[in-house]
């Protein structure tokens, strides 16, 4: 089942990357990042099944980081929305060359 888990994880990670590239809504892009983090978690759990339980400890750390990231990132999105009245990334182009 290790190969299957890694394949599922790879597909989910790729879906997350393509979502980040395709979407323009900051909140959906943020959810795509969460999907990528979860896909990596599946890799950790699959390896921990066959190579010892340490991988599950790293899943705990990844979950903590993604929770912190969600809190700070959504606060940033709220701050941007307050300034620009939009979360469409095409309209947030102050630093565009």
């Amino acid at each position: 089942m290790l190969a299957e888990s890694l394949a599922i994880s790879a597909v989910l990670f790729t879906i997350g990357v393509v979502g980040v590239l395709v979407h323009r809504n900051a909140i959906i892009i943020f959810m795509c990042v969460e999907l990528m983090l979860t896909a990596v978690n599946l890799t950790f759990v699959a390896f921990s099944r066959f190579y010892g339980a340490t991988g599950q400890v790293f899943v705990v750390f990844v979950m903590t980081v993604s929770a912190a990231e969600a809190a700070v990132g959504l606060a940033i999105i709220i701050a941007i929305f307050r300034h620009r009245q939009t979360v469409n990334l095409s309209d947030i182009n102050l630093m565009k060359g």
Partner: protein
């Protein structure tokens, strides 16, 4: 890794894998943030089922509580706070070539990750077949994680609390806004 699995196990493993990937595809093709968030919750639940099948019961419970429960509720909360529930009517200025390029990049990345994941790890690292079962019987599902977490990774665990403190402070400072700074 030539272990023999019962057909019942294999069938459900593939079933939940297909559910996870299908919900992720539905998630990424939605325009409305609320529908996307709900499909992502579905993906998280299917992944939790996969975790249970990989003998990581505690991680599965945490996946449902933290991801599907807490994080997605925060996302939906922000969507409704900013009133973004309806899909944006502004068309993407980058045109359809950008989507084609994104698809090509995705296929290239997928082939790369698949190739990497086919690497054979040394067999000496592989635990005995009933490793996780005996481990779970000896210490229970929580103890399996708690032992390494509070022994080898104690420093990292303590640093996690600093990370969470910084995140809380940062979220409060960023979310407070300009008006309340004036007082």
């Amino acid at each position: 890794m030539d272990q023999h699995y019962p057909l019942f196990y294999v069938f459900h493993f593939y079933l939940f894998g297909v559910i996870a990937i299908a919900s992720a595809l539905a998630f990424v093709t939605r325009k409305s943030p609320v529908a996307a968030a709900l499909w992502l919750v579905n993906t998280m639940f299917a992944l939790a089922a996969l975790y249970v099948m990989l003998d990581a019961d505690f991680i599965a419970a945490m996946q449902v509580l933290v991801y599907a429960g807490a994080i997605m509720v925060v996302f939906l909360f922000v969507v409704m706070l900013l009133n973004l529930g309806h899909p944006s009517e502004i068309p993407d200025a980058r045109g359809k070539w950008w989507k084609l390029a994104a698809a090509i990049v995705g296929l290239a990345l997928l082939s790369m990750v698949m190739t990497i994941s086919r690497t054979r790890l040394p067999e000496s690292l592989v635990m005995p077949r009933d490793f996780s079962v005996t481990q779970a019987a000896k210490y229970n599902a929580v103890g399996t994680i708690a032992r390494p977490l509070f022994n080898e990774y104690l420093l990292a665990f303590e640093l996690t609390s600093v990370l969470l403190l910084v995140a809380i402070a940062g979220a409060v400072v960023l979310g407070r806004g300009r008006e309340s700074n004036a007082r």
